[in-house]
């Protein structure tokens, strides 16, 4: 672990991997809650945690490498369930990367337990880890100019859900109606660092038409064609 100075009042704490970053983040939150650490922002990322607006950056920077960081506890807190229709346009590509039949993608993805490692890209966009390492996928060679709100997507080791329509280069495997970000709600962001998540396959039943789609209509593979 090393603490790199960032300007006058911030430190970038670098650790060796994402698991250590999540453990460090939990410890920093604990220390801030007890009042022993005074800092405005604690921003976890892939293998760093940024401390911005620190009261005593030099003291904290000198002491931090000597801290004992407990491993991330396996907590009994509730797991947030996000229903997903595994109907994304990149399902076949993802299946090919994984070397599995297309229908297996939903089963593998919904069997994993995820944790929000960090947020970024857009308000309420979480980078979720939890898939075994062999299921990493590259970003798409050409990003899409429009990814619909609620798209469930994969890139590298991460799963993410687009909180609103935006350009994006992740592989789209499904979609959800769960509202990830609503600034009129408390909390505004459903996914914040540390939250545990499970994706639940939401198979439209044959006898209850879902939303505005007639049950006889063929599922659209064009994500921009979905009405919201």
């Amino acid at each position: 672990m090393r603490a790199l100075p960032v300007g006058e009042q911030a430190l970038l704490v670098e650790v060796s991997d994402g698991t250590e970053a999540q453990a460090l983040h939990a410890e920093l939150l604990r220390r801030r809650a007890t009042g022993s650490l005074r800092v405005r922002e604690i921003v976890p990322a892939a293998r760093t945690v940024l401390l911005d607006g620190l009261d005593e950056p030099r003291r904290v920077g000198a002491e931090l490498p000597g801290w004992e960081i407990p491993p991330l506890p396996r907590r009994a807190e509730a797991v947030l369930e996000i229903p997903v229709r595994y109907d994304g346009p990149d399902l076949a590509d993802v299946a090919a990367h994984w070397g599995v039949p297309v229908h297996e993608v939903a089963r593998i993805h919904s069997a994993a337990e995820f944790r929000v490692a960090f947020c970024g890209f857009a308000p309420g966009f979480g980078y979720l880890t939890g898939l075994p390492g062999r299921y990493e996928v590259p970003r798409r060679a050409t990003p899409r100019t429009g990814v619909p709100e609620g798209s469930v997507a994969l890139a590298g080791p991460y799963t993410g859900v687009y909180p609103r329509a935006s350009p994006g280069g992740w592989q789209l495997i499904g979609s959800t109606d769960t509202v990830l970000w609503d600034h009129a709600r408390v909390p505004a962001a459903l996914l914040s660092p540390g939250v545990r998540v499970r994706f639940v396959a939401d198979t439209p039943s044959m006898d209850t038409p879902s939303r505005d789609t007639p049950p006889t209509a063929a599922p659209s593979t064009d994500p921009t064609a979905r009405s919201r």
Binding site: L4, V6, G7, E41, A45, F121, H183
Partner: protein
């Protein structure tokens, strides 16, 4: 319909509502946003008797024109510009009474980029996460002003302005930004670090509220490849693949994957926000306090 409002007659190139932003939510991917020139925003609020964090208008180069529905006290500051009320010249950098229905015109900046327009009572659009600021990166807060829009004003407080007029710094002819190297200075060659702190860059016309982009000698990296996403601070000097430094301003992304070679002192960022395209920029090593 309440008369505590104003109508937008001329929105200008880009006029947004800004207060002092929404710090404290970076871990959710929410930029801090807020006025790019905070001293100017605080000052115009003080001139009309508002608290320093009241919401004001931030214009870009060509000002804006508004018609208040009640008599208001306004103050225009930041970039120097002509101010008129129903066509008659009014003072800049001082409280101005605008009668109900009169047209307040904030003209094009004579120098600098961004004017701030405070109204007594403040602009009272709904706050988002505790701030009324327009965040152009993530779309939080009210949209930029549009011709014909009507924006609400708050109730003026009991406080009276304690100042009539105040000196404000002139926008710089040359922008000098004091930097502390790091956190990723080691991603660049020694020659690149020397280039950064000895050569002159210019402000690029592609600059915006997200970042001050520069043109000048590219900074050469020691390593290629991507840095895993990491947290970004206000004032970070990020170096994209073209090698030209970008100084992160208020609407900057909260995480990023290009290396940050240095960080500009926060107190120097207000002048960065007022530097026009073409202005020479020098990054000078400030060392560490």
């Amino acid at each position: 319909m309440t008369d505590r409002a104003f109508a937008v007659v001329r929105a200008g190139a880009l006029t947004t509502v800004q207060d002092l932003g929404r710090p404290g939510h970076a871990h959710l991917g929410v930029p801090r946003s807020g006025a790019l020139d905070p001293p100017a925003a605080r000052l115009v609020n003080r001139l009309v008797g508002n608290p320093p964090d009241a919401a004001a208008l931030e214009t870009t180069l060509d000002g804006c024109a508004v018609r208040p529905r009640r008599t208001v006290t306004v103050a225009v500051g930041g970039a120097p510009c002509p101010v008129t009320v129903d066509g008659r010249p009014a003072p800049w950098g001082a409280p101005v009474r605008v009668p109900a229905g009169a047209l307040l015109n904030v003209g094009s900046a004579v120098s600098g980029v961004r004017c701030y327009v405070a109204f007594d009572g403040g602009v009272a659009v709904d706050p988002v996460l505790g701030s009324r600021s327009t965040d152009l990166l993530s779309g939080l807060g009210p949209p930029p002003l549009a011709d014909g829009a009507v924006l609400p004003l708050g109730r003026p407080g009991a406080a009276h302005a304690r100042v009539d007029t105040v000196p404000q710094p002139a926008p710089p002819r040359e922008l000098v930004l004091r930097v502390a190297l790091g956190p990723r200075a080691d991603w660049f060659t020694a020659a690149a670090l020397n280039t950064l702190t000895t050569r002159t860059y210019t402000v690029s016309s592609a600059s915006n509220r997200i970042g001050l982009r520069t043109e000048g000698p590219p900074l050469e990296r020691r390593f290629e490849g991507e840095l895993p996403s990491e947290g970004m601070v206000l004032g970070a000097v990020q170096v994209p693949p073209d090698g030209r430094p970008v100084v992160f301003l208020a609407d900057h992304p909260t995480t990023g994957g290009y290396p940050v070679v240095a960080v500009v002192r926060e107190s120097d960022l207000a002048s960065a926000a007022q530097a026009r395209p073409g202005t020479p920029v020098r990054f000078v090593g400030a060392g560490r306090r």
